[in-house]
Amino acid sequence: MDSDLSPQDKKDLDKFIKFFALKTVQVIVQARLGEKVCTRSLSSPTGSDWFNLAIKDIPEVTHESKKALAGQLPGIERSMCVEISLKTSEGDSMELETWCLEMNEKCDKDIKVSYTVYNRMSLLLKSLLAITRVTPAYKLSRKQGHDYVILYRIYFGEVQLTGLGEGFQTVRVGVVGTPIGTITLSCAYRTNLAFMSTRAPGEDEGAYNGVEDSQEVCTTSFSTSPPSQMGVPGKEGGVPQQVPVQPCHGAQAEHRRVSSCPPADHVPATPSTKHPTSSRSVGVKSGSPCGVLETTFTRKVGAFVNKPGTQVTTASLDLPFAAFAPRAYDLEENDPMVQPPESSATSSPLQGSLHSQGSGESGGPAQDDFVMVDFKPAFSKDDLLPMDLGTFYREFQNPPQLTSLTIDVSSQSMAEDLDSLPEKLAVYEKNIDEFDAFVDTLQ
């Protein structure tokens, strides 16, 4: 019943709702680009800052929003939704959250459109700014890079939450009553971050580590990530998080450039197989969406790395952890103590960064005439114990290869290993008393 609303008020209200929807999408997408947002306060109004808030308008996002709206406005049973998903460089994707701008039939006839509704919309946008930093996808989006990117999709119509997995949570950002209905803004976010991939569960981490393997060479040079980051992937159920907050600056700059470039340069959205009827747009992070799906990728060379990286293809990642296995052409006469095989460079960001500190001796694989530089770690005393810090580093930087990683015909295959496990378990169970006694002696 719009009869109580004056034509001017109706016009204003429609305008407010339209721009509110556009600004909502801008806030959400900008919060998932992976960068910190910073806008300036202006004491004098410019006349173009809707809702008295400095929210930039990324042209591509506005274009996608308008395309999704197609001249309509969010209304009753016409919700505007922004879906945020994660896509790995392997091609697996997962919906992380869906932001819904909906309207219900509860009207507030007495409310002043040009004043109260406008101010409440401004308040709601502020709440949205705050809440977008609190849902789990924010942390994931800040760490996106080569391993995965965050994508957004805007659609109009019925809300679809089935892709969020079981047990998704909902947080309500806020409501604004208007004379034609109550606008509500909410977010449904996934809590179950276990990846659904075609590979067997045990091999997931291996595959991701394979992907990371190509990145560690450059990230370790910059890495200042704390050891704690290693523990996180388990929590996230396979989503790689070992890329530190400061991944390859070069790559990051590349993504940023794409996001700020005018629409003419942007690669058009890849056709979607999931939702053919709604407008799909690939997230602004990827310069070439097809590039993300390619099966070959070259290692980027970071600072202090002497040799350009080798090509890693997904074909070579058949075995779990196969990327860790030493390759024949890389092995030359190496003293494993001084010339670390590739795999050790990838075992942890922290170890890798220590690795890069000993730049004299660890200039990458295959150097014929290396010079042995006596590695004196900072603050070490070289006289006290037979095993000093430097020796300790050298010895434990290059652990022996895991037998299961050697692609050796004579060695037992993984399947045989697994088969022999029940027998081994039976033996251990028999000797359980011995083990208990041993544990008691330790206490």
């Binding site: 910190k36 947002v37 910073c38 806008t39 300036r40 306060s41 202006l42 004491s43 004098s44 109004p45 410019t46 800052d49 008295n52 808030l53 400095a54 004043y115 409440r120 308040l123 709601l124 502020k126 709440s127 700014l129 705050a130 809440i131 930093r133 609190v134 924010y138 942390k139 800040r142 947080v171 309500r172 950002v173 806020g174 409501v175 009553g177 704690s228 523990g231």
Partner: protein, 217 residues
């Protein structure tokens, strides 16, 4: 008119106190600040633009949004710094920091202006000491999650759209808003705190303030 009162409670490690308080206070002030008012001759006014910026915490796995105003940030940091000093260093303890929004009501001589609070946020802080790095790491994440929940609580309260002071005329604007800042205009606010030592006895600045207020009448 009743003053709306909201309470939040967090448990943090000593070095997280600053950031946790800043995160919550700035989140509240983000919602309780507008752009600068510019009054025009006909009694209408235009409002300036409020910018925002993302702040990452160093000791907590958390990021929050605050108003882009260095002046406001300095004022809040000063208050939080005083609170932290009062809490002492490296000691377990409890304290409470209150952010109060008020309106000034002009009184006739000889009475001084009344400050009538319309919204009070009380943040109880429980400081713990942790033994090792592993516990600290877990604390980083846990406190980050807790702060996220508090932000959701704050947003929930604010979006109830309960009482807000009426938009003032030009002559009354200083009774409702803090117009001393160059770039933004928060509602008039004050930050007070009280410390409880581990024995539970109250060593409070509030008592002193109550006495002062009574004597001022």
């Amino acid at each position: 008119m009743n003053c709306r009162s909201e309470a939040l409670e967090v448990s943090v490690e000593g070095r997280q106190v600053d950031e946790a308080m800043l995160a919550l206070l700035h989140t509240i002030l983000l919602h309780r600040s507008t752009g600068k008012f510019h009054y025009k001759k006909e009694g209408t006014y235009s409002i300036g633009t409020v910018g925002t910026q993302d702040i990452d915490c160093d000791f907590i796995d958390f990021s929050f949004v605050r108003v882009s105003s260095d002046e406001l940030d300095r004022a809040i940091r000063k208050a939080v710094g005083e609170f932290k000093d009062a809490m002492g260093n490296g000691m377990d303890g409890m304290g409470q920091i209150s952010l109060e929004f008020y309106q000034k009501k002009k009184s006739r001589w000889p009475f001084s202006d009344e400050c009538i609070p319309w919204e009070v946020w009380s943040i109880k802080v429980n400081v713990v000491n942790l033994a090792n790095e592993q516990e600290r790491q877990i604390c980083r994440e846990k406190v980050g999650e807790k702060l996220g929940e508090k932000v959701i609580n704050i947003v929930e309260v604010i979006n109830r759209h309960e009482y807000l002071p009426k938009m003032p005329t030009q002559s009354e604007v200083d009774n409702v808003f803090d117009t001393s800042l160059k770039d933004v205009q928060p509602y008039l606010y004050k930050i007070t705190f009280q410390i409880t030592d581990t024995l539970g006895t109250s060593v409070s600045t509030t008592m002193r303030r109550l006495i002062k207020d009574t004597l001022a009448l």
